[in-house]
Symmetry: C2
Subunit: 210 residues, 2 copies
């Protein structure tokens, strides 16, 4: 019951991998290069080299679900947004479907369901996330979509909200809280075909994401 | 039986609109502004102002099929690729489905079925076209996808090929030939849920696209 982590070397990815490792949750971190692999080796985390813009099929071996947290930010440049956040997501979801995996867990973004409501600069990124999420809903693999708000570097509180109203209009969430939320949903296998907006808040993750 | 032309002010769009007008084929050209509308007024072509990055629902009134030829080039910048070629296509296909239109005709691109085989610079664009085409196949509106090769400004020959092999490896097609091919498929209502690669070649359009 191993989880493949696509985008493991990202800010959320690394934090999630450390939490999973501490919790004894079996994961395999997909990274781009041996240089990236060194950090995972040091932390005793199983890893595999895969190229999301090329060949990564072999990385799925022995895994029964996928976490996609590659890209995961509007500031990587729209070329990479198209190749990673959009097309990398589509290809990996198609592969998860083809291989009959049990779940695909996507780290999306809060405005992705309606990109035109986002600030103008963020709209191209949100359009990519919208299309990737829409594709995931269409393919034949059970899915779960987390939609964090504006990502911050605050410490984990373990407390979240699942709507802007519940968060009193505050649109931020720490990457650390996202990583904790990911661990919860990775371990809660009964959560399928659901989507959660994710913000810093007042509820325990295990109560908010059910 | 009017065809809404999204991207009518583009190079292929204008040529197609002129051909349709001469052929007596009812169309409505969707353009961005009154400045753009002037050209269509001069040519006696019905037009409507709609914003593909905003509101365009009203433009569908009285139309029973859609031609999407907005963007239609890898050189507009990836921000616009995300908002127009990807998200504009998705939104208009969803609307066509919601309104129960009879067909949605997409101008895609030859490499769109496998973006990673395209030259590196073109891959982000091809990824957008891939995702837009994939979405169109999923929504509940009959569709037709044209996949022209490298666009040129040569004169129309009216002769095309539908594979690289048939075109002896030549990967180009004139925008004028694409416009003629569009007119043919717009008028051939029996063509549904089919896709054609489109290159300059030796066969009459009406024989090649059946």
């Amino acid at each position: 019951m191993t989880t493949l982590v696509i985008g493991a070397n990202g800010q959320i990815g690394r934090q999630f991998c450390e939490l999973a490792q501490e919790a004894g949750e079996p994961i395999k971190a997909m990274v781009r290069s041996e240089e990236q692999q060194a950090w995972f080796d040091e932390h005793g985390i199983d890893s595999v080299i895969g190229d999301l813009e090329g060949d990564f099929r072999h990385a799925f071996a022995g895994c029964d679900q996928v976490v996609f947290t590659a890209g995961s930010g509007p500031h990587t440049g729209p070329d990479k947004t198209l190749l990673i956040d959009l097309y990398g997501a589509i290809r990996s979801a198609d592969l998860a479907s083809e291989l009959g995996l049990s779940r695909y867990l996507m780290v999306s973004a809060m405005r992705a369901e309606d990109p035109l409501t986002a600030p103008e600069k963020l709209r191209p990124y949100m359009a990519a996330k919208f299309a990737a999420d829409a594709h995931l809903r269409h393919v034949s693999v059970p899915h779960l979509i987390l939609k964090p708000g504006r990502l911050t570097d605050e410490a984990a509180t373990g407390k979240v909200a699942t709507s802007l109203e519940e968060a009193n209009g505050e649109n931020g969430i720490s990457r650390a809280n996202v990583a904790h939320a990911l661990l919860h949903v990775v371990q809660t296998r009964s959560l399928v075909d659901v989507e959660f907006t994710l913000l810093d808040g007042q509820r325990a993750i295990s109560e908010a994401l059910t």
